[in-house]
Symmetry: C2
Subunit: 105 residues, 2 copies
């Protein structure tokens, strides 16, 4: 069973910003920014599964990612269409900013 | 006495996003987006002073706003120069997104 995702119209900016206000979750969306579906286990190395499960939930509940069951695992993707429709330009600005932060560190 | 502000290079995206991940704080930066300095008491009506003091601190510590003492109160302004330098385009995207959210409500 997969938890429900908020509809596009239910997405709220404050929730999206809280969800992305975490270095690990910023790293996750940078991986998903390629537009593909990624299995849960393939995105970040060296992070405990229970920790990642928490982060998937935060991102999913905010409307940032979609989780789709596939066999024994979930596939994750960025909800770019929904985010771009709600907040044009925001996701690209955020991805660019995340890249600048990671380069500066 | 006024608390120290992070230098431009110390600003971190995750901190900025957490600071802005709150409807009240998004309202505050929409007021400050006019580029002027505003006295603490002139920005939002109907919110307790202690509550606002908390929000100023969160925004200041993240590098989003600057507080400058003036007589018996503080003047607040948005750190647009610093944010634009660190994350080009991000602040405008966020302000536009906040406007869309408020219109949709």
């Amino acid at each position: 069973m997969i938890a429900p995702h908020p509809e596009r119209a239910q997405i709220r900016l404050a929730d999206v910003l809280v969800a992305l206000g975490n270095p690990l979750r910023l790293s996750i969306i940078r991986v998903l920014a390629d537009g593909g579906e990624h299995s849960c286990g393939s995105i970040l190395d060296g992070v405990a599964k229970s920790t990642l499960t928490h982060h998937w939930r935060v991102l999913r509940d905010a409307g940032v990612i979609r989780q789709r069951p596939s066999g024994r695992e979930n596939l994750l993707s960025l909800r770019r269409d929904d985010l771009d429709a709600r907040y044009p330009g925001l996701l690209d600005s955020l991805l660019d900013a995340a890249k600048r932060d990671s380069t500066a560190d």
